[in-house]
């Protein structure tokens, strides 16, 4: 593999009983990569490998410096890597004040520089507090400052917001976005939250069972999910089948008509909003019409998500007034229609 002029090149293999991580990653300077994936897919393992906390097979090169090279027997210790690591639940040193926590990673002028970071974040009044006296949001912000203050070349964030309250989370996310925009190195962010990923990342990497199953810009990934997990994240229906001209034959046997389908194994994506529900069989343009049964209804803000079973299991998103008009209830039988133009088909 030729090493391009980008900032992080990593080929990482970790073998554990019953689990193997096998990831190639290239990230440009100043880019933010969001790593997404189900529980146990190896996200934390990947960050720990990059931080040097676990020994790997493979090679990690950061800004031209080789941090790991199992072939050459090279392994730079975590403390010598200049990487920053932020954990899900802050992990502030419980026996030190906030100021000492922020100063911990600094070399000289420690107290002055740490105070400045706290001041910039508006946390000066907490400098003398112990971590247990902080709220969750404050603690996570301090943890972020503590890491940023060391000016790492590679910033690794392991679900930095997931332990926070929904209401604080937006605030801390804003602060994180601001802090990250001023940070020059490579950033890798593990998250469960698609909004967080889309808001903060230039590139998404989707891990499943230790392998990268999809990668690309947030728009690319959500537009063309390649797994159930990504489809759930993007909130769309993902179907799999074989393309035949403009038709897609689903694995269940049902046929789908799309604007364009191609040949061979394909994915088909249907946005829930594009799924229309009727009490009687609709006449007119929609090419795809089936019977279905509303399994359950889920109020989400100003929309209702209806899970449908039947020939093609789908989720539809309708307005509450539509629910009233259709007298939709769990168990109701409906007609389901999707316009051919609303179905996006691409190669599997």
């Amino acid at each position: 593999m030729a090493w391009l002029a980008v900032s992080l090149h990593a080929t990482i293999r970790v073998q554990r009983n019953g689990f193997a991580l096998d990831v190639d990653l290239e990230v440009g300077a100043g880019e933010t990569v969001a790593v997404l994936g189900p529980n146990g897919s190896g996200k934390t393992t990947l960050l720990r490998a990059l931080a040097g906390l676990i020994r790997i097979e493979g090679r990690v090169e950061l800004d031209g410096e080789v941090l790991d090279d199992s072939a050459a027997g090279r392994h730079v210790l975590t403390e010598d890597r200049r990487v920053g690591l932020v954990f899900q639940d802050h992990v502030l040193f419980p026996h030190m004040t906030v100021l000492d926590n922020v100063a911990f990673g600094l070399r000289r002028d420690r107290i002055r520089i740490a105070s400045e970071w706290l001041a910039r974040a508006g946390l000066s009044d907490k400098a003398g507090a112990m971590p247990r006296e902080l709220s969750g949001g404050q603690a996570q912000r301090v943890a972020l400052l503590r890491t940023l203050a060391t000016e790492p070349r590679l910033l690794l964030l392991d679900e930095p917001l997931s332990a926070l309250d929904v209401t604080i989370r937006a605030e801390v996310r804003r602060e994180l976005a601001r802090q990250l925009s001023g940070f020059q190195g490579v950033r890798i962010l593990v998250t469960h939250d698609p909004l967080e990923a889309i808001a903060l990342a230039d590139m998404l990497v989707v891990l499943e069972q230790g392998k990268i199953v999809q990668t690309g810009s947030p728009a690319e990934v959500t537009a063309r999910p390649r797994s159930r997990f990504v489809a759930d994240l993007a909130g769309v229906n993902l179907l799999r089948g074989r393309g035949r001209g403009r038709q897609v034959e689903l694995d269940s046997g049902a046929m789908l008509t799309a604007a364009e389908a191609g040949e061979g194994d394909v994915f088909a994506v249907i946005h829930p909003r594009a799924v229309a529900l009727y009490l009687a069989r609709p006449e007119g343009t929609p090419r795809n019409v089936w019977r279905g049964r509303a399994e359950d209804l889920d109020l989400q803000g100003e929309r209702v998500r209806v899970r449908l079973s039947g020939t093609v299991p789908l989720v539809a998103e309708v307005t509450p007034s539509a629910v009233r008009e259709l007298q939709l209830d769990a168990g109701a039988e409906v007609w389901v229609a999707v316009k051919a133009t609303e179905i996006s088909v691409y190669r599997a």
Binding site: L53, E79, L85, T147
Partner: protein, 261 residues
């Protein structure tokens, strides 16, 4: 808080257990030769032996801390058979009859011992029969308690603090001194208390390896033993003084120090 009730049989057994500890102590107190406690208290030998006991037990605890914490750190990193073996080896001084422990100390640090002989021939240093010997004997017998307590603390510690410190660029020494040690404080403290208590009561290894010389190696347990020969009442009075002092020290220690890690 309305915690779960303690079941009645458990309460009864606990009472039995406490009684089992308290009855012998009560026996000592009830049958104590109270007339002898006064004289024993003011006798200059008592003050000497008590001072020596405290000095030796505290020094032994300090040595155990310096050697035992590192040993616990290394133990906690081992796995599998090596771990079992090392752990068993550290537990052995507890099993060894203390008098044999004293003999073993001679064989290592005595004038003819593995280490003691070269030491004696090169520098003329003799360890047995000195206060240092008493400290060594107490350390040998009491250190396992510290090591085991600290190792338990290390195993139940959240190692992400150490990882966070490393990611912040702290080298191994800085991680140890600024993160590991402070986080271990409760385990260290409770281990140190066990170690100190065991050292304070040590008799067999001390009398064998350090001998019994008032003012130099005669700690309270030795003085008690000697006194038992001629004036058993005085021996009991002396024991009561030791108990009272330890009780005061143990109670005086702050509860929070003793908490689990």
């Amino acid at each position: 808080m309305s915690q779960a009730r303690i079941p009645a049989p458990v309460l009864a057994l606990a009472a039995a257990g406490l009684l089992f500890f308290l009855l012998p102590l009560a026996g000592l107190i009830v049958r104590a030769p109270w007339g002898q406690v006064g004289p024993a208290l003011v006798a200059p030998e008592t003050a000497t032996a008590l001072g020596l006991s405290l000095f030796c037990s505290v020094t032994a605890t300090a040595v155990a801390l310096v050697l035992g914490i590192p040993l616990a750190v290394v133990l906690s990193r081992t796995q599998g058979t090596l771990r079992s073996v090392l752990r068993a080896l550290t537990t052995l001084p507890m099993v060894l009859p203390p008098v044999v422990g004293g003999v073993a100390l001679f064989l290592a640090f005595g004038r003819r011992g593995l280490v003691g002989e070269p030491l004696h021939q090169a520098f003329g240093i003799q360890i047995p029969f000195t206060t240092a010997a008493a400290v060594i004997a107490e350390t040998f017998v009491a250190m396992p308690f510290l090591v085991i307590a600290v190792e338990g603390g290390l195993r139940s510690m959240d190692h992400r603090y150490e990882e966070a410190a490393r990611a912040l660029g702290a080298g191994s020494w800085r991680v140890f001194a600024r993160v590991t040690l402070p986080l271990l404080r409760p385990a260290i403290f409770s281990g140190a208390v066990l170690c100190w208590a065991r050292a304070l009561g040590e008799f067999g290894a001390t009398i064998t390896f350090a001998g019994n010389l008032p003012g130099r190696t005669q700690t309270i347990p030795l003085a008690v033993y000697v006194a038992l020969e001629t004036r058993p009442e005085g021996a009991i009075a002396l024991s009561l003084i030791l108990l009272a002092v330890s009780l005061a020290i143990l109670i005086g220690m702050r509860d929070r120090w003793l908490g689990s890690p």
